[in-house]
Subunit: 318 residues, 2 copies
């Protein structure tokens, strides 16, 4: 079995994952991101040991490797976290630090890439060579699998799929400093922004009245909930959102032509309500016809993708 | 040595290429694209034999393989041209047909991918693993090299880099049926369109007066020529064009993070006048900082990239 660690800005999660890619047990601690890296990594190692012991296994005898999914750019070959503004790490020797406490192979990878690997490993069709995973969350995360391996470019920073520009002129501001990135239209953050704008512009619609009558709180679900209840204002928000997601997916497919594209993240819980219009749009606007087409699916693992993918960094992918 | 064939809609070019990737001799014939594929492919084979004989070599003794760069989608494993709307081929067994006349290994690949391979093979730095080539021509062509090999997706159709959308709302029409593709802003066709619009909007500018005084002909060079002469209208056309190219390149780098990105096609002849503002823009807007950055270069091979790349399909890339 393997240990997967999902290092985040607020929490560290660790999971014991068996050879069938199932999580046997998990545990978590707060990150305490303001601390020195040596303390954070020590906590990660202790958590890995704890999660194994709590499941009545022996880390030395039963575990083959420990994988870490981390925000930022990783030098996976040398086990170094090159740069993360999320937890303020720069050139941190993750492998070396972990090996002070755990004498096992240590692997590290970018969290979005690692989650993509997790989704890739649980595909039913083992003949798939190339897969793209997109995560519709606070931002748009991306992970690319090429020839059954994570593709992260020459510097560990590739697959920033949320940061290709979809609106060059008059684009919404993106967190990365550009305007008009896909993330600024297809993320939950963008959906919430558009929902709020619609509520402001149409204070008499059912959605606006309900939101105002309660605490004014808007989430990524608000527009979806009210669209399903028949509010045309909410429906327009949802339609525009899905259009932006679908347009980006057409572009990603035109570039990568993977066998499978997987949609994960909070919004993916909408399931077919999201997936069906995307498929229809892609079918209409994809560049290449008369050839086999990418299959678009909702992610299977949800929040577990990070732990499972990290754990499987050490598993040989054949 | 190798033979490379560049199959186009109007002409077929063949070249004999030596082990140092130099073209020794070339020959060409019209494509006659309306004919049955068997006739076209017979002409390709005869041209390959002719180009070898004219250079005083023996195809059986001296040539290791024949490579074909073709428009459209290729099944390179099976030597089949799956689909090309350019020459109206569908599921054409190129390898099988060629082997009727030439008893050598036959390789086929998409023309843009093959040109990228040509540029990759002549890079001075042999440690480069990943490279993206973009061709600013009638459209925007793209070729992606990953781990020293052409990446063309699971269906042979990947790397359509001209067809990611850069303007989702109010985008210019693209030949592919979508609006707002990068090609609709960064191609020579787009540059000519914008030059004509500027001339119409500013009939008194130097560029407009000169174009009107002659035959009204506008090319991809017109705005560049008049910008260099100090016409502010032409300068604005050029600035906007370079901005669109540079924005697309930032997106491509955010996705692929290759060691090298090569710019080819007609516009690339502008050299540093094009390259320097692109580099400056990329430096400002790229997503990933504090890590090694992609080097952006002008293509070396120009029009020869197709023949050389096709020839090298049969060369082992180490």
């Amino acid at each position: 079995m393997y240990i997967g660690i999902d290092l985040g800005g607020t929490g560290i999660k660790a999971g014991l994952v068996d050879d069938n890619y199932k999580i046997l047990h998990t545990a978590s601690v707060p990150t305490g991101a303001q601390r020195h890296y040596s303390e954070i990594i020590k906590d990660m190692a202790m958590l890995a040991i704890r999660v194994t012991e709590e499941a009545d296994f022996d880390i030395k005898k039963d575990v083959k490797s420990v994988g870490i999914g981390s925000p930022g750019t990783c030098d996976s070959e040398n086990g170094i976290l090159v740069y993360s503004n999320n937890i303020n790490f720069e050139n941190v020797p993750m492998r070396e630090e972990m090996n002070k406490y755990i004498d096992l192979p240590i692997y590290i990878g970018n969290d979005a890439n690692v989650a993509a690997l997790g989704e890739f490993m649980v595909l039913d069709d083992k003949n798939v060579n190339h897969m793209v995973a997109i995560t519709l969350g606070t931002g748009i995360g991306g992970g690319v699998i090429i020839n059954k391996k994570i593709y992260d470019g020459f510097n560990g920073a590739a697959a920033e799929i949320g940061h290709f520009q979809v609106q060059m002129t008059d684009g919404e501001a993106c967190t990365c400093g550009r305007n008009g990135c896909w993330e600024a239209y297809g993320s939950v953050t963008a959906l919430i922004r558009e929902t709020k704008r619609a509520i402001e512009a149409h204070p008499d619609c059912d959605m606006a009245k309900d939101v105002t009558a309660h605490d004014g709180h808007v989430s990524g679900k608000t527009a979806f909930v009210w669209a399903k209840k028949g509010d045309p204002v909410a429906q327009e928000v949802v339609d525009n959102y899905i259009h932006a997601v679908a347009e980006g997916i057409v572009s990603v497919i035109n570039i990568f032509q993977p066998e499978v594209l997987v949609i994960g993240g909070a919004i993916s819980k909408e399931g077919d309500y999201l997936l069906n219009p995307i498929k229809k749009h892609v079918e209409q606007f994809r560049y290449s016809r008369s050839i086999p087409q990418t299959e678009i699916r909702i992610a299977k693992l949800g929040n577990d993708a990070g732990i499972i993918g990290a754990a499987l960094l050490g598993a040989d992918v054949k």
